[in-house]
């Protein structure tokens, strides 16, 4: 993915360099805030930035050398953008990936000097914020807990790699020097990078999970999700000897609303209320999954007619078939009318279709629930509909 010199023409490379420089300047400012520590640490941010960001950059650099075997003797390596974003925050992530790219280009000739702007724009300025944005949104939507953080990290890493590929294709469209049609570049780049993204996603999620189980306080993306670590008195371990200080601590942990994991229950503490999974969260998570499936998976779905259509065409049945009354509708044939690229239009139509289905389904569900609430008698049939509806 490191673009060499001469692949993108000079003006676009310079423009991308300007974009990259601006983004790095912004993230330098943001990284100070992020690395100041969870407690704010009283103005420590400024001077903590260099050692911490430097070590994280060294980590990203090292982890790119960690090879993960894929079947058949081939192996891949982590790109680390999404991982850095989840572990240390988006600004520091952009900063670290940019520094790694800078050093790789100056010291190891990996990625051209003039293409440095292009490389930073793709892999840091686009990939990292996309990953973090998606991660944040998913964490907010999914039920609280450790699984949500790893799941969101998986999705974020999965999307970040093709996003970088799309950004590259856009730069290629502006200033590519080879005469390959845009469609081919797009399909090849995104296709290959979805595969790479799958590996990246699995490793990122597993790594985030591993860090989360040892030092949950270090995972930037999980702040506010896991219980804050508190200092405890030794006396607190004695049953019935809970001091005022520990009671206060426990009360604070409860106030955060998070399950106090790994903390032995103590007599003075009020047990944290067990939260049921709220339907709204499950509902939103399902919606997100359906949208991703419709938008991304249908992108790769076969363009061939499905079995029935194929048989009909072979047998000449469809000669008699009349055009459907909705054939002129903007969504006919699972495509959006004014988008010429078939795959893109298929994906868009899929997303719109899921939205419409969902709206109808929710409508039915609401009606059924209202009826069930008013009349308990037809509860059996209503619960059946409930199951079908969801």
């Amino acid at each position: 993915m490191h673009v060499p010199d001469g692949f993108i023409d000079a003006p676009v490379s310079l423009a991308a360099g300007a974009v990259a420089a601006g983004a790095v300047a912004v993230s330098l400012r943001g990284a100070r805030r992020e690395l100041a520590g969870p407690a704010g640490a009283g103005g420590l941010g400024e001077e903590r930035t260099a050692p911490l960001a430097g070590l994280v950059a060294a980590f990203v650099f090292a982890v790119q050398m960690l090879n993960f075997p894929v079947a058949g003797g081939t192996s891949g390596h982590l790109l680390g953008g999404a991982l850095a974003a989840v572990l240390v925050g988006p600004y520091t992530g952009v900063l670290c990936v940019s520094v790694v790219l800078l050093m790789q280009s100056v010291l190891f000739a990996d990625g051209g000097l003039t293409a440095l702007g292009v490389n930073i724009t793709d892999m840091a300025v686009v990939a990292v914020p996309v990953a973090y944005g998606l991660f944040r949104a998913l964490v907010r939507v999914l039920p609280r807990g450790r699984g949500a953080v790893t799941g969101a990290a998986f999705a974020a890493a999965l999307v970040s790699v093709p996003a970088a590929a799309v950004a590259f294709t856009a730069l290629y469209a502006l200033g590519g020097t080879a005469d390959v049609s845009l469609g081919k570049v797009f399909t090849a780049m995104v296709g290959v990078h979805v595969l790479i993204g799958l590996g990246e996603a699995a490793i990122t999620a597993l790594t985030v999970g591993a860090v989360l189980s040892v030092r949950p306080d270090l995972v930037y993306g999980a702040r506010g999700v896991t219980a804050p670590l508190v200092l405890r008195d030794v006396t607190a371990a004695v049953p019935g000897g809970g001091t005022a200080a520990t009671t206060e601590d426990a009360a604070r942990a409860d106030a955060e609303g998070a399950p106090a994991e790994g903390v032995p229950a103590e007599p003075a503490a009020v047990p944290a209320p067990v939260r049921g999974r709220s339907t709204r969260r499950v509902w939103l998570a399902g919606l997100a999954t359906a949208l991703v499936c419709a938008g991304v998976v249908s992108f790769y779905a076969s363009a061939d007619p499905d079995g029935l259509e194929k048989v009909a065409a072979d047998q000449g049945i469809d000669e008699q078939a009349e055009e459907h009354g909705l054939a002129d509708s903007p969504l006919a044939d699972y495509g959006v009318a004014d988008i010429s690229d078939t795959r893109l239009s298929g994906g868009t139509a899929g997303v719109i279709g899921v939205g419409a289905t969902l709206a109808v389904g929710t409508g039915v569900f609401v009606v059924v629930r209202r009826r069930r609430a008013s009349a308990p008698a037809p509860a059996a049939s209503a619960s059946g509909a409930d199951r079908d509806g969801h």
Partner: protein, 238 residues
């Protein structure tokens, strides 16, 4: 060559590569001239040709891409050894290969004649934000350490009979990556505290200020100036 100030060399290499990139691809002679120029400088700097060429291997993935280009590009086709190749594709492949290789060769030359630390000082001298240079210097200083830590974990895994063979072993490797992150981050915190206790206030004093005399600038300007001349000649004689 080794003694020239690092920031002069950085500017020179950047200008050289810019000249190469903006040369029209039909000017085949120009690229030969660039290669000769670089070879002359390598000779002058007494960098062994073998190491210089050996480090060009980094470019291999993109060579594979360039080889594919003639097959997938559009435009009129030419027959060659029974293969149907696209003519613009061939030009595109040549373009990527020639410019990419020259760029890599120039960067390798820069890296071979300049110390890491000098390179960072040069970047700072070129008005890169000092914070960025500091981050990069920390990364380089601790990069070997972190890589070594990773290697030790690999040895530890191997000595317990682990061998990563497929997707099923990703979990173990990811746990190593997680442990590596925790170790690096905690080391960063310790380094920060150690620096604080030695009076660190957010900036590292620059002790050896690098400056360049006019003569040094003139000497480093020879390569990009020659490249610029070749580039202009390439445009005029097209």
């Amino acid at each position: 060559m080794h003694a020239l100030p690092p920031h002069c060399k950085l500017v020179a290499v950047l200008c050289f590569v810019l000249a190469v990139v903006s040369t029209p691809r039909e000017a085949v002679g120009a690229f030969a001239a660039y290669a000769l120029l670089l070879a002359a400088v390598v000779r002058l700097a007494r960098v062994p040709f073998r190491t210089w060429l050996g480090r060009l291997v980094i470019e291999v993935p993109f060579v594979a891409f360039a080889v594919l280009l003639p097959f997938v590009a559009e435009g009129p086709r030419v027959e060659w050894l029974g293969l149907s190749l696209s003519e613009p594709g061939l030009w595109g492949a040549w373009n990527v290969l020639a410019k990419g290789t020259l760029g890599v060769a120039a960067s390798v030359l820069l890296a071979a004649t300049t110390e890491l630390r000098a390179l960072l000082l040069g970047l700072q001298r070129l008005r890169l934000p000092p914070q960025l240079v500091q981050i990069a210097s920390f990364m380089l200083r601790y990069g070997d350490l972190i890589t070594d830590e990773m290697r030790r974990m690999r040895v530890a895994r191997a000595s317990r009979g682990f061998e990563a063979r497929g997707v099923r072993h990703w979990g173990v490797l990811a746990k190593s990556a997680g442990a590596l992150f925790i170790r690096s981050y905690e080391r960063g915190e310790r380094v920060h505290l150690a620096m604080l206790s030695r009076g660190y206030t957010g900036t590292v004093p620059v002790i050896d200020e690098v400056t360049a005399t006019r003569a040094q600038w003139a000497r480093t300007a020879v390569l990009p100036a020659a490249a610029l001349a070749v580039c202009l000649a390439g445009w005029l004689l097209r």
